[in-house]
Symmetry: C2
Subunit: 120 residues, 2 copies
């Protein structure tokens, strides 16, 4: 399987902020419209992360500009207001690389949190 190199302007947004990460994670199995992305983000984080509409739409716009997300037509006969977004191939790779980084960090942090010294 071929993996394109991630260009530097994309590298700059790694590690991802929570808004970027949950937005991309929400649409990773398939296209979703904005409102659904908001709801999915809350669900995926067990309610810990609630994105407002301003954050959502500005984040989507940024990701589209960067070529990580693209708009796609929804099914015919559906709510005409809905605008669907999905990951591009590069978007998927970037998300995968972010998940890999998080996986490393979690292992590292788990080990680190054992060797405690002092605190108050």
């Amino acid at each position: 399987m071929r993996v394109l190199p991630i260009p530097p302007e994309i590298q700059r947004l790694l590690p991802m902020t929570p808004a970027v990460f949950y937005t991309m994670l929400a649409i990773s199995p398939g296209a979703l419209h904005g409102y659904a992305i908001m709801q999915q983000s809350a669900t995926l984080s067990s309610g810990a992360f609630k994105m407002g509409p301003a954050t959502l739409y500005s984040t989507i716009q940024r990701l589209v500009d960067l070529g990580l997300v693209k708009e796609t037509p929804g099914d015919v006969g559906e709510d005409a207001r809905r605008r669907y977004y999905e990951l591009t191939t590069m978007g998927r790779q970037v998300l995968e690389s972010e998940v890999a980084r998080m996986n490393e960090v979690v292992k590292l942090a788990t080990a680190r949190l054992v060797q405690r010294t002092s605190a108050s």
Copy 2:
């Protein structure tokens, strides 16, 4: 082992931004001074995350104000400029809860990234 509940004003900063997370992770095994925190953050992220001094010191100040980090005296006879910071008990709990969240998300995301649909 007793675990204090995390107050709502702290919950608001979860999920953590990269700057907050790496700062806290850097000092999790024991107190470090600012400059060392900067270097550790870069090391812990394999060079992916490089914090400038402005981000570092404003982040530290915020964490001190929130009671997650406190300044502690360094060893005598050391470089007098150095100011050391360590996690408070609450800070450690918050970091632990963030790591737990990340662990969940990684599992969830790994599963999600398998069930791919389409992309370009």
